[in-house]
């Protein structure tokens, strides 16, 4: 049987901060974000990012959470016994059996974005695998208001995966490829991902290049989330988290439409929720909750 290339599949990986020695830390905490598509585990030493893993969520949440934490701890010598407090978050947060507490992903994302982008962030757009949220927060990373779409794949990572597969372009290259057009086409007119697929097939048949179709889809996705942001109101500074934040095709079009630049971060944009969880865990340890 011929091997079927899975264009939607993004790179799973783990990371360790070489400048931190966990044995020196007073408080070690973990945040586990079990999303509908991806799971992340973050380990922090005294509130500094020490290690993390980023992987695909399996069909079984408890296992995904365990796999994520084990991978984050790989080659560190850490065991779960060394972790003082663990917070579970995300869509599958109630299925993190070893967590000391579950906290909503909205609160964790705001808290994590505050760490990743600094205290000036007021509006966070989290573009996840199966939902999209716009969050307002204060300088402490506390949520003031939020709205979300979790009903429809348009404007989510899942929708982008469907397109990557349809066009045979690796999900990690979609953004760059979508910028390789001489002239920016109008957005794909169908909102629904199912209908947009049919529309894209028609555009390809009429002679559009793959890049042009990708440009039209990235532009449609940007437009869709702009309307979500307009509903909640844009207050700068602005940051984007989640997997789509890595897609320069969507981000640049979104910035253009909003007339606002998104803040940059050296961290992986997918770990915001897990970082927030680990920071909440630290605060809870300090309050003597464990």
């Amino acid at each position: 049987m011929a091997e079927v290339k899975e264009y939607w599949r993004w790179k799973e990986y783990n990371w360790k901060n070489p400048d931190i020695n966990w044995q020196d830390a007073a408080v070690i905490t973990a945040g586990i974000d079990v999303g509908s598509v991806s799971s992340q585990a973050v380990i922090m030493c005294d509130g500094e990012l020490y290690a993390f893993s980023n992987m695909r969520t399996g069909s079984d949440s408890p296992n995904s959470a365990l796999n994520a934490i084990n991978w984050a701890m790989a080659d560190t010598g850490l065991t779960q016994k060394n972790i003082h407090f663990t917070v579970g978050t995300g869509y599958g947060r109630v299925n993190v059996p070893f967590a000391d507490r579950a906290i909503t992903e909205i609160a964790c994302h705001a808290r994590g974005a505050n760490y990743m982008y600094g205290p000036t962030v007021r509006t966070i757009l989290d573009m996840g695998g199966q939902d999209c949220k716009a969050i307002h927060c204060n300088e402490k990373g506390k949520v003031i208001s939020f709205i979300m779409n979790d009903k429809c794949a348009a404007g989510t990572g899942r929708g982008m995966e469907v397109f990557a597969n349809l066009l045979g372009v690796s999900i990690e290259e979609v953004g760059e490829r979508s910028l390789q057009v001489d002239e920016e086409p109008g957005p794909v007119s169908s909102t629904c991902v199912v209908f947009a697929k049919t529309e894209a097939t028609g555009l390809l048949r009429s002679g559009w290049s793959t890049e042009k179709v990708l440009a039209a889809y990235c532009s449609a996705m940007a437009h869709r989330v702009v309307s979500l942001l307009e509903r909640i109101g844009m207050e700068e500074d602005f940051a984007i988290t989640g997997g789509i934040a890595k897609n320069v095709g969507v981000v640049s079009r979104l910035e253009k439409e909003l007339g606002v630049k998104a803040l940059k971060t050296r961290h992986d944009t997918q770990i915001a929720g897990a970082i927030g969880g680990a920071l909440f865990a630290k605060a809870l340890v300090e309050k003597g909750k464990k």
Binding site: C152, T191, C192, F195, R205
Partner: protein, 260 residues
């Protein structure tokens, strides 16, 4: 007088030839990406079946999402108008028409003359159209034609959380992994989609009798789920539910030609 109705749907194009109120022939072809060609092909096939030439047709009326592509037609009528005319011709007692095609769902309320009073439409989201069942049948690895009969064998339905067709596909896969029988999953799929169509019908008002048209009317599993949801029996032109709008267009063509 001989007239023709051509319904260019998002997925299938239908042509129907009418002579003095009697259907002479009907033909269909996939709409593909060149709808004008699909309209030509379906029309030519219908003419052939009726043993006629194009010159024998007094008036051709186009309807459907791609009706503007049918440049050879003399007139055009909206999908809603065509569905109402076709339905009232077959069922004079009908006051509500539910029309579910591949990429659109529609509910309309009409008077005894087939004049449309109000209507609701979904053309934005696959969750309320035939595409939804089609996507789910792929996830279930069952052919679209089998979905209806399979669903009738269900013992119970399980709740489906996802509304979006893309998300529901993943949910169906996890239901299969959870060893829920395929028949029960099929029933759940039809039930979920029926509740979306029924809320559209409720928006225009539950007025009896109700007719269901469109390709999805061939899916007896969906029809059963919708009848259970609405708590009534639907009138269905079972032999050719997808041709009723083309019929309506041909009837409208006859009216036009008559007063010309």
């Amino acid at each position: 007088m001989i007239t023709a109705g051509i319904d260019v749907g998002n997925k299938i194009t239908k042509a129907l030839i009418l002579k003095d109120g009697e259907i002479l022939s009907r033909a269909q072809t996939p709409s593909g990406f060149v709808q004008k060609k699909a309209a030509r092909d379906a029309f030519a096939e219908a003419l052939k079946l009726a043993g006629l030439r194009e010159a024998d047709v007094a008036y051709t009326m186009a309807t459907g999402a791609g009706r503007n592509e049918v440049t050879f037609a003399q007139g055009r009528i909206t999908e809603v108008g065509a569905a109402a005319r076709g339905a009232i011709k077959l069922y004079p007692e009908a006051r509500t028409v539910i029309d579910v095609g591949a990429e659109e769902g529609r509910a309309l309320k009409m008077d005894e003359a087939g004049k449309v009073i109000d209507f609701a439409i979904n053309e934005k989201c696959a969750a309320g159209a035939g595409s939804f069942v089609e996507s789910m049948s792929r996830a279930l690895e069952v052919s679209l034609e089998e979905m209806g009969p399979l669903s009738l064998k269900a013992e119970k339905a399980v709740p489906m959380n996802a509304q979006c067709a893309v998300f529901a596909e993943s949910e169906v896969v996890s239901l299969i992994h959870a060893r829920i029988p395929k028949a029960d999953i099929a029933k759940s799929i039809h039930k979920a989609m029926a509740s979306r169509i029924s809320s559209m019908v409720r928006r225009v008002g539950l007025q009896k009798e109700m007719v269901m048209l469109g390709g999805v009317a061939r899916n007896e599993g969906f029809v059963q789920a919708l009848e259970e949801d609405l708590e009534l029996k639907l009138l269905i032109p079972a032999d050719y539910p997808e041709y009723i709008s083309a019929l309506g267009a041909a009837l409208a063509a006859a009216e036009k030609a008559g007063v010309k």
